[in-house]
Subunit: 481 residues, 2 copies
Amino acid sequence: MGNEQGITPRAEDFSAWYNDVIMRAELADHSPVRGCMVIRPHGYAIWELMQGALDDRFKQTGHKNAYFPLFIPQSFLAKEAEHVEGFAPQTAVVTQGGGKELEEPLVVRPTSETIIYAMLAKWIQSYRDLPVLLNQWANIVRWEMRTRLFLRTTEFLWQEGHTAHATQQEAEEETQLILRLYRSFMEEWMALPVLTGVKTESEKFAGAVRTYACEGLMQDNKSLQTGTSHYLGQNFAKAFDTQYQTQNGELEYVWSTSWGVSTRLVGGLIMAHSDDVGLVCPPRLAPVQVVIVPIWKSDAERDTVLAVARGMLEQLREAGLRVELDDREGMKPGAKYYEWEGRGVPVRLEVGPRDVKREQAMLARRTGGKTPVPGSGLRRAGEAGRARWPQELLTAALARREENSLRGVTKEQLVELMNGRGGFAYGGYCGDEACEEAIKQETKATIRVLPDEEFRTDPGPSECVWCGKKAVTEAVWARAY
Amino acid sequence: MGNEQGITPRAEDFSAWYNDVIMRAELADHSPVRGCMVIRPHGYAIWELMQGALDDRFKQTGHKNAYFPLFIPQSFLAKEAEHVEGFAPQTAVVTQGGGKELEEPLVVRPTSETIIYAMLAKWIQSYRDLPVLLNQWANIVRWEMRTRLFLRTTEFLWQEGHTAHATQQEAEEETQLILRLYRSFMEEWMALPVLTGVKTESEKFAGAVRTYACEGLMQDNKSLQTGTSHYLGQNFAKAFDTQYQTQNGELEYVWSTSWGVSTRLVGGLIMAHSDDVGLVCPPRLAPVQVVIVPIWKSDAERDTVLAVARGMLEQLREAGLRVELDDREGMKPGAKYYEWEGRGVPVRLEVGPRDVKREQAMLARRTGGKTPVPGSGLRRAGEAGRARWPQELLTAALARREENSLRGVTKEQLVELMNGRGGFAYGGYCGDEACEEAIKQETKATIRVLPDEEFRTDPGPSECVWCGKKAVTEAVWARAY
């Protein structure tokens, strides 16, 4: 299932490059079903590694997985006014089941708040039943007009957390806890630095009181929303009459949150680090971390080299690394290098007859550099590499973001930047949606977030970048996926 | 979220008992969506443990996970004649998307052969691309008229393996490999002994050449089909033109298999072991393996007891066990015992002031028996328990199956058994579908499998149990879920 076509350079056409990287690495493919993709084994393995890391963090913070129905009665969606307005136009609707027309059409879930709150109303009686900390790994359907592999597809995979609390404060703390959890996962596992903050009204989740988000800057200087954490207040509790009895015997609505990340993260991973040769994958998320390529000419060489290569395979697997030995016959080493580089394997070990004699292997890193390593020190080298590499990619991504962030922008700079090289533009915002909308019309840029304290400029801007009136907050603009 | 209602005894009403066990253990709940259930955290945790164990085995045998679309164009389903005949009446159909009528309705996948073969046709070029060994964890929809939690629901979760091979022999070996893999998982993890064999034509998968199955005997003496492995021959390859170039340069259709187990396994687990107190769960699949219940009256006692209990918690977690400390206030120990017993926790440790003085804990097993264990020996006791318990449940289930299996049945015995106490009835079968159908009409029993060699009676039956003509094979009858 090789794929021999070349990769369009990033500088030439970023969007074509993105697709080429996915095809070359066999991460995903277009399906015959409109807007739906197939996640191929190499892409799915990255998603599984992401799932594992996130799931551990969710469980460590007390969340439990559950599973709610794929179908939601149309009337449920309508119970929360903003929610139905936001999602109804995007739904896929089942109207026939078992050969008959359904009395009430079923919506394929675009998100699960409504069905979950209908159940919570049944399960939650008193303060003793709170908090409820749930998570669900599931597929989601949102009818999309223009789709892109991983970034925007009609069906996608995600996790959706849903929590209910006795107090407003607890719910707000949960929203923040998850935002931090997402951020540390993205930095430590994806080597992707993300900006966090709150969304403006026009960009928040339909039905939320406030939406917090993580935003990562891609190599084309567009921003990707990589995760969201919503504080829902009592909106869904009221719509579904989810009440609990307080310690004083009174009835109160629960306070709730929801939050999610999706297979879109795989798209973010690709666009953050990859190059014109193919995928670059942080080692923690690499399905294959090391590939061993044996080199031989004669049959005698083959036997000797393969025996040594198998020993290395064993040694590295014992060190806890995900290793493959590429012993395919009738394929030149160069062709193998090309294939594994395209697939983003962080380290390649080449072993030929001369290396066997010198008791070494040549270690080639995906991001550049080739050095001999002694065969006996492989395990140690592997372990040291594991510790070092994620930091290098993160440092590079952080430097790229800093180079492409401009603080205290003027109106002219904002327009020039957003219509030009892109990046993050920090400036003052008066809070008037008219300014937000005007900037969007002029530049296609949106407010990605009102940044969290640690990202804010000090001192903050005093005037709105657009109308010049008093700024009520700082905002970060970017063109976005 | 406690549930205080009693459990109907098995002997009185098995079906009501089954539902009561699920409700008491909070494994699942009915949803407001017709035929769909909610899998609650305790039930989902069992499914996750099953998934983990199966996924390891799939990967160890070279299979890779992938993900294919939820929606299948109606025309795809129609390409394999038997397949569409079997599945079309059961489908849920999406006719609207994004507010518009669709040109071609989309079926919500009842199984994924058709969409997968459409992709394989694109990916497979030559013998070098084979075998393709895929697995998918996904949700499935089959419109069901009468549903039961876990056993038969409109939506369920499953894994579906799909493999393509260069030769018939390889595909047949794969079918057998998976059948053995399923059986060993069911025995070692679920403590559920299963009968394996091939299905008759009338019971096979729509589109398969042959279907192999695992069948487990439940406590009501009905059989549950717990897993199937299908040899598909070239049926789907021909329907989707999935060809490969052989080493000689000729074009040949691939040979394929598919296989699956579902959340139905959780239902099987419940019906195999549980009792009138609630769930009995084999320790390997128990989300909580040990619960520690501290007992105190005064505040001073509380502090001492809790300190010791926390030490035990630590010790047992270090031993790799899943342990909870139930330190809820204002709840009597007896009420806690009742709750954890209902949830199927294999071991309870009670620690009161007297136990603290004696440096011990009382160990109560879910399946009976109470003994003091020294606090210092807890870790060792835990490890020993882990090794021993699954075997005990399996031995009991095996003995129950043997007691309820009758070999070499006559026509009269078959009718009496199947209309009476149930169980497995082994007898001769002439191979004529008319006999199979007549027995079904008379007794509601079906041929579960033509048993694999190791399960066959020696010497085998010579006459058909129904018509008395020459038997071509031995068959096992049972009433089934």
